[in-house]
């Protein structure tokens, strides 16, 4: 049953040290503000799950929140590498980062299986690649045709966090544009948080929108700008400059640490 609570409260109550946490957003509506709150609350030993980890995951990893990353494509979209993730993988700084790497198809099927309360998803994939031997998949045989397929274990995060455009006062949520895997993440997770641009009296149905009823969400937090610097269709465009700048900020450990101190750790919680 969704309660409208400040973001600080939502993260305090629903994200715990050692949790498996998915902050999702397929290159759109990325819950940056929620990630920053996780950093401010100094969560540790998280297993971070995401199809497309980008800047906010680079920040979480660089600040030492994570012990493991489960993903399918990690980069700064249109710019290049995630320097903090690379530093963790290549040089164990600030701590070693274990990787569990999938294809997009495998990650998507794992979320869908989690949402459907199944222990695994099935894809015709991972075939003849080196990925199969490095990751957590198993062969499964079709009992009707004998075909060999890949089974991926379902994602069932302890906490799932997404950003949406709107909630109503009861906590029903609507998001639109590129809706990615957000429905699946909320339904697959044991606990869920949605940050929203706006709280409205009534959700007006929109083409292509995903509506999540309040009774499948644990907390809704009103955080205008909560996806910045990523997109929130209808509210703001991507801050492309920032993505380019991030390459410079994140390259050196000192500059990164100072930037985080000034821009994330000291930031007052507005919502």
């Amino acid at each position: 049953m969704a309660e409208l609570v400040p973001l600080r409260t939502a993260i305090e109550q629903l994200v715990r040290d050692g949790d498996v946490v998915a902050l999702e957003g397929f290159t759109h509506l990325i819950p940056h503000a929620a990630g920053h709150e996780v950093i401010r609350q100094r969560r540790r030993d998280l297993t971070l799950v995401r199809m497309t980890p980008d800047v906010v995951y680079d920040q979480l990893v660089g600040m030492g929140c994570a012990r493991k990353l489960v993903f399918s494509w990690g980069g700064n979209p249109g710019v290049g590498s995630l320097h903090r993730v690379r530093d963790a993988v290549e040089h164990d700084w600030p701590r070693p980062l274990e990787l569990e790497e999938h294809s997009h198809a495998g990650m998507a099927a794992a979320y869908a299986a989690g949402a459907a309360n199944l222990p695994f998803g099935v894809v015709r994939g991972y075939r003849d690649t080196d990925l199969a031997s490095q990751t957590n998949v198993e062969r499964i045989t079709c009992p009707f045709t004998g075909e060999q397929l890949a089974a991926v274990p379902a994602h069932r995060p302890d906490a799932g966090i997404v950003h949406a455009q709107q909630a109503d006062r009861r906590g029903n949520v609507q998001l639109w544009g590129i809706t990615g895997v957000q429905k699946e993440v909320v339904l697959a997770s044991k606990r869920s948080i949605v940050t929203v641009e706006e709280v409205v009296d009534e959700l007006e149905p929109r083409p292509g929108a995903v509506v999540l009823p309040h009774w499948v969400i644990d907390a809704v937090s009103h955080v205008p700008g909560g996806a910045h610097p990523s997109y929130a269709l209808g509210y703001y465009d991507r801050d492309n400059e920032f993505y380019v700048r991030w390459a410079e900020i994140s390259r050196e450990r000192d500059i990164f640490a100072q930037w985080m101190e000034e821009n994330v750790l000291r930031e007052s919680v507005l919502a």
């Binding site: 997009h104 869908a112 015709r124 075939r127 080196d130 991507r238």
Partner: protein, 231 residues
């Protein structure tokens, strides 16, 4: 040279083909085709947009304009299950850090997987694009570091790779599935391409020279590019 790469790839798209495109060169090539000889090409971005008709080239597949101009937007699980795995896509574009003579690609690591020299972004949609679309188009710059004898990691298989467009020319598989040089770009010597390839590259008997971009292509390219495309 990336202009010529985009033109070479775009020319190979037939009108009406359904294309799974990523950001950067593939998006440029597919939109160039739409703007010239193939106005009915269907652009699908893996973020879920089917039939996107961007007026400006997006910097990210998360760009809202792709959703707003699309015929339909579907969830990411549906995109990979019903549309890609469903084998509804004609053409898929892939890039990579390394390619071998059979069109297998590496976009995962340079060096050992557990102790990599360079940790790359990873496969993303590539492993299943490579086995689910009818024809794979690969686009990457050619050098001995990228055109290797042996991949450090096999991210995707080459069996459906039909063409590799580089900054020096075009490679296509021969009857045995080994890539050979079929086109050089204007001003490029075949030996230059061989020197930029770590394996012993075969050269097609009927090696051709890529036709220089036409006025129409250059015009379309310029109008696409001036709207903020990368690279």
């Amino acid at each position: 040279m990336s202009e010529l790469m985009a033109v070479s790839a775009a020319r190979r798209l037939q009108d009406g083909e359904v294309c799974f495109v990523g950001i950067g060169l593939p998006s440029l090539a597919a939109n160039l085709a739409r703007a010239t000889h193939a106005p009915n090409c269907v652009l699908i971005y893996e973020s879920g947009t089917i039939g996107a008709k961007p007026t400006e080239l997006p910097l990210s597949i998360g760009d809202g304009e792709l959703a707003v101009t699309a015929d339909a937007v579907v969830s990411v699980p549906e995109m990979f299950a019903y549309w890609l795995q469903g084998e509804r896509i004609d053409i898929g574009f892939l890039g990579a850090a390394q390619i071998d003579r059979h069109g297998n690609l590496n976009s995962t690591v340079i060096g050992d997987y557990d102790h990599p020299k360079v940790r790359l972004p990873g496969g993303g949609g590539a492993p299943e694009i490579a086995t689910s679309v009818r024809d794979v188009f690969v686009m990457l710059k050619q050098s001995r570091r990228s055109f290797v004898e042996r991949l450090d990691f096999k991210t995707s298989v080459g069996e459906r790779v039909r063409v590799v467009v580089t900054d020096l020319g075009v490679l296509e598989p021969d009857g045995d599935g080994e890539l050979r040089l079929t086109h050089v770009h204007p001003g490029v010597e075949p030996e230059e391409v061989r020197a930029a390839t770590a394996w012993d590259l075969s050269i097609a008997e009927d090696l051709a020279v890529t036709e220089a971009p036409s006025e129409a292509e250059l015009g379309a390219l310029r109008s696409l590019r001036t709207k903020g495309a990368p690279g």
